[in-house]
């Protein structure tokens, strides 16, 4: 099995002289192809920072990251943009949909930017719309649809270009439990059937229980790691809760 993400000795320092704050300290992370990895930790632990660095939106102070065999630290802005477009899919808590585009236009945007031919583009749009059950809202605008539908639209956009890695930052954060479950089920299907590699930051133990593996971060360092293995989701969920209470601070985030 291939390695999709290999991050070594990631360090992120904010601030200038005198007032330095280190958000990440020597993080090592390896994600294999087809893994569904969760990242948890108290607020301010550095989860979003780590995800943004992997997403090439932010750059690390020091450290080395290889995604899909490509060394990110050696690329210029334009190459990074192309990399994001072709290799990565994003999912954020606040959806990040463009309100000037219809649902369909939002979904196909990455393909349009990659100048894919129109036939293939339409075919893939149909495919993901079916997968996430948003076929009948394709011609609506984001302000006309619900939060759950927005997140499924964002998810469709994240996977339409068949990225090597899907990055999600609290994707269920703004959803009710039904919509959250729908989305998580879809992500699980994607992971199991399409062998998509997913990295998901979450505060929600229930969401984390869908992962194969959960990393816990505290104060910018890796605190521990839980692997689901042969456990049922219920068992895994309880395990996650145990670690969270041991972690402290984050415990109040658990619903």
């Amino acid at each position: 099995m291939n390695i999709v993400v290999e991050a070594k000795q990631i360090k992120k320092v904010y601030g200038a002289k005198g007032n330095i704050f280190s958000a990440l300290e020597d993080i090592d992370l390896t994600v294999m192809e087809g893994e569904f990895v969760g990242i948890m930790g108290p607020s301010g632990a550095g989860k979003s920072t780590l995800l943004n660095i992997l997403a090439t939106i932010d750059d690390p102070t020091t450290g080395n990251i290889v995604v899909d065999g490509i060394n990110l630290t050696k690329m210029n802005e334009e190459q990074l943009s192309a990399f994001r477009r072709d290799k990565l899919g994003f999912l954020f808590q606040d959806y990040n949909l463009l309100d000037t585009l219809t649902v369909k236009e939002n979904i196909i945007l990455p393909l349009a930017l990659a100048k894919l031919n129109i036939k293939e583009l339409e075919r893939r749009a149909d495919e993901v719309a079916d997968k996430f059950g948003i076929r009948d809202i394709l011609n609506k605008y984001p302000y006309q649809i619900s939060g759950g539908q927005k997140q499924r639209t964002a998810a469709s956009r994240a996977i339409i270009s068949k990225p090597s890695l899907i990055l999600a930052d609290e994707p269920t954060g703004a959803l009710d439990s039904k919509s959250a479950t729908d989305l998580l089920e879809s992500l699980k299907d994607l992971n199991e059937q399409d062998k998509a590699t997913i990295l998901m930051v979450t505060h929600d133990a229930y969401a984390a229980s869908y992962c194969n593996r959960v990393l816990f971060i505290k104060d910018g360092k890796i605190f521990t790691e839980l692997v689901k293995g042969k456990r049922s989701r219920k068992e895994f969920f309880n395990k996650v809760l145990d670690v969270l209470s041991a972690l402290g601070g984050g415990a109040n985030d658990v619903i």
Binding site: E78, L88, E105, L109, L113, I118
Partner: protein, 641 residues
């Protein structure tokens, strides 16, 4: 903390928001102050010969300027207030009393206004010297501009702007009372809806434009009455106004929508982003676009028309006063007195000196001509040829014994064909003779005097008639570099009096024309500059507000994988559309209107408008281009850094 200091703190904290508004205020004040100080400048009024016209023109324009400036300030004030509604709502939620907030906003506005006024007047004092120099240069005077502070102008500027500032301050005071809290919070969200396509209004828009163009371009009817003028062009203007608005509101929406239909183009690259953003913004921009298009076309028109007056002044003067000096001979003593004045001017040596004998007779045309031809002025073939030669015109006539050539009466458009095959009967005391027209020439020999009907006859004929009707003799002189012969012209004018309806010396006529034209050109140029800067700024402000609202939009795009370079390109394309569209429509409108004006004007004075119009358009495009670059850079800095 006193209210006053809270207001001051606010200004400091919100500097960016205030800055744009502040610049608008200062700009308006500088412009107004400059203008009034020119108006009141005695130095300038002394140095020209047309000061009555000048102060009248200045007076009228300064009223236009006040109106415009007031509208511009109110516009940017409401713009600025809209950005702050949320902040005001926040104060209210934090528990500040309405009255306190209202007072705070009042003081804020007042403080900004007064600071802007002080800066405006200081900058205005500096700038007015520059503009005074430009005006004097345009008029061709050689006065030194030693240009101090004009207290009259300061007082007037302060009064006018204090009224405007007080008004906006009161508006600020009332803001919190005028809106519900919820409205204050959602102030920025308004207007962000995808516009619906209305085919009907798009079609009506196009139709109205076509109709108005057709009305404007329609050739003049034979009978050109005021009623026709008002009806035809009144309807044309209304149609143009509504048509332009519908064009921006519906036609562009329709076209953008249409461009979305072609999926394989639309779904390719960043076009999808640009098109959709433009579609979203267009409704909110339609009114601004309309105002800008109409304002810029009006400015181009006026600028083009006045510039062409200025530009063709020399040519026009040469037609009206062909020789440097002309006067009626009043005996050898008088004539030599004039001659010695002209000869004494060594800086303008005489190139040619002629006697032009003219016989005035009564004539009857063989056809109807709506021009009063009597008395007909006869000159001989050789006189005409010598005069034309002296004026460097290559027109010559050679006539057989009893044929005649007509000189085209000035300010008319008669063509050769009018006179072809016709004749004139000259009535002399005992007999009359019939002279067929064989020719029409366009060179004039004497200064304009109504009626302007000159007939060139053969030398024999002239000599024959001269026996019965004694000719008058005009003395004409052509000197080197006649456009600068100020002193001599003054002396000659004093001596010879009014032999003609126009001045008897070229310089005087030229200078008066130049000054009159320079003032109009300067005023229209000045107003044009103000309109241009104002419209440019309005687009600039709008784009910046939009940039601030669109920050999130571009952040998402960057996350999805659009490079900074592509985002910049995309911003460029959108800004080009936003600046280019109203400008293009404005230029088109002005071309059509100028086509009409030039038809109209060349009927009157026969001048060519192409160079001046092109100059005005190029000037406009350049200034807009500067604003475009500025906008792209700032926009880019806001969303792409």
């Amino acid at each position: 903390m006193t209210l006053f200091s809270l207001a001051r703190k606010n200004i400091k904290g919100n500097f960016n928001n205030y800055f744009v508004y502040f610049v608008t205020l200062v700009f308006s004040m500088v412009i107004y102050y400059t203008f009034t100080s020119l108006q009141y400048s005695e130095k300038i009024q002394e140095s020209i010969e047309l000061s009555d016209t000048m102060s009248f023109m200045f007076g009228v324009s300064s009223i236009i300027l006040i109106l415009f400036v007031a509208i511009f300030i109110l516009y940017s004030n409401s713009f600025f207030t809209r950005k702050r509604k949320k902040e005001v709502g926040l104060y209210a939620i934090l528990g500040l009393r309405k009255k306190t907030i209202a007072k705070m906003l009042f003081y804020e506005n007042l403080v900004i206004g007064i600071i802007a006024l002080v800066i405006g007047i200081i900058l205005g004092t500096l700038l007015s010297k520059l503009f005074a120099m430009i005006l004097i240069k345009l008029m061709g005077s050689i006065t030194d501009v030693d240009f101090g502070i004009s207290f009259l102008a300061i007082t007037q500027t302060v009064i006018v702007f204090m009224v405007i500032i007080l008004f906006t301050s009161v508006q600020g005071y009332r803001l919190i009372y005028r809106f519900k809290l919820i409205e204050l919070f959602y102030a920025e969200k308004k207007g962000e809806q995808i516009p619906k396509v209305s085919l009907i209004s798009a079609v009506i828009g196009v139709l109205l434009l076509v109709v108005s163009y057709w009305l404007i371009l329609k050739p003049f009817p034979d009978e050109f009455t005021t009623e026709y003028l008002i009806k035809n062009y009144g309807i044309a203007f209304v149609a143009l106004f509504i048509g332009t608005h519908l064009f921006f509101r519906s036609v562009t929406v329709y076209l953008l929508r249409l461009s979305q239909r072609n999926k394989s183009r639309y779904y390719r690259g960043t076009r999808i982003i640009e098109t959709s953003r433009l579609l979203f913004r267009i409704r909110g921009n339609a009114r601004t676009f309309t105002v800008i298009a109409l304002l810029s076309s009006a400015t181009i028109c006026f600028l083009g028309a006045t510039y062409s007056g200025y530009y063709s002044n020399e040519k026009r003067t040469e037609e009206v006063v062909p020789f440097s000096y002309s006067h009626l001979s009043k005996g050898p003593e008088f004539d030599s007195q004039v001659e010695s004045i002209i000869k004494a001017d060594h800086r303008h040596p005489i190139k040619a000196q002629l006697d032009i004998p003219v016989i005035q007779v009564k004539g009857i045309l063989s056809f109807q001509l709506d021009y009063d031809i009597n008395p007909v002025q006869l000159i001989s073939e050789s006189t005409f040829n010598k005069a034309a030669n002296a004026l460097n015109k290559d027109e010559t006539v050679s006539l057989s014994r009893n044929k005649a050539a007509v000189i085209q009466p000035r300010f008319t458009e008669y063509t050769k064909s009018v006179f072809k095959g016709e004749n004139i009967t000259i009535q002399l005391p005992q007999e009359s003779s019939k002279l067929p027209f064989v020719h029409m020439v366009e060179s004039n020999v004497l200064p304009f005097d109504y009626p302007d009907f000159f007939l060139v006859v053969s030398n024999e004929m002239f000599a024959e008639i001269a026996k019965k009707e004694a000719p008058l003799t005009y003395k004409v002189y052509e000197v080197e570099n006649e456009v600068t012969a100020q002193a001599t012209s003054k002396k000659v004018n004093k001596l010879v009096g009014n032999d003609f309806q126009v001045s008897s010396s070229f310089y005087t006529e030229y200078k008066q024309g130049k000054e009159g034209n320079a003032i109009t050109l300067f005023i229209f140029g000045f107003l044009g500059l103000v309109f241009l800067a104002a419209t440019g700024s309005i687009i600039y402000f709008k784009q910046l507000t939009e940039a601030n609202e669109a920050k999130g939009h571009y952040e998402i795009l960057r996350k999805i994988g659009v490079s900074r370079k592509d985002i910049r390109k995309s911003i460029k394309k959108q800004s080009l559309f936003v600046f280019g569209l109203p400008l293009t429509v404005g230029i088109l409108h002005s071309c059509v209107t100028l086509y009409f004006t030039s038809n109209f004007m060349s009927n009157l004075i026969g001048i060519n408008l192409i160079v001046p119009i092109l100059t005005a358009i190029v000037f406009f495009v350049i200034i807009y281009a500067v604003y475009y670059v500025l906008t792209v850079n700032t926009y880019n800095r806001i969303v792409n850094k």
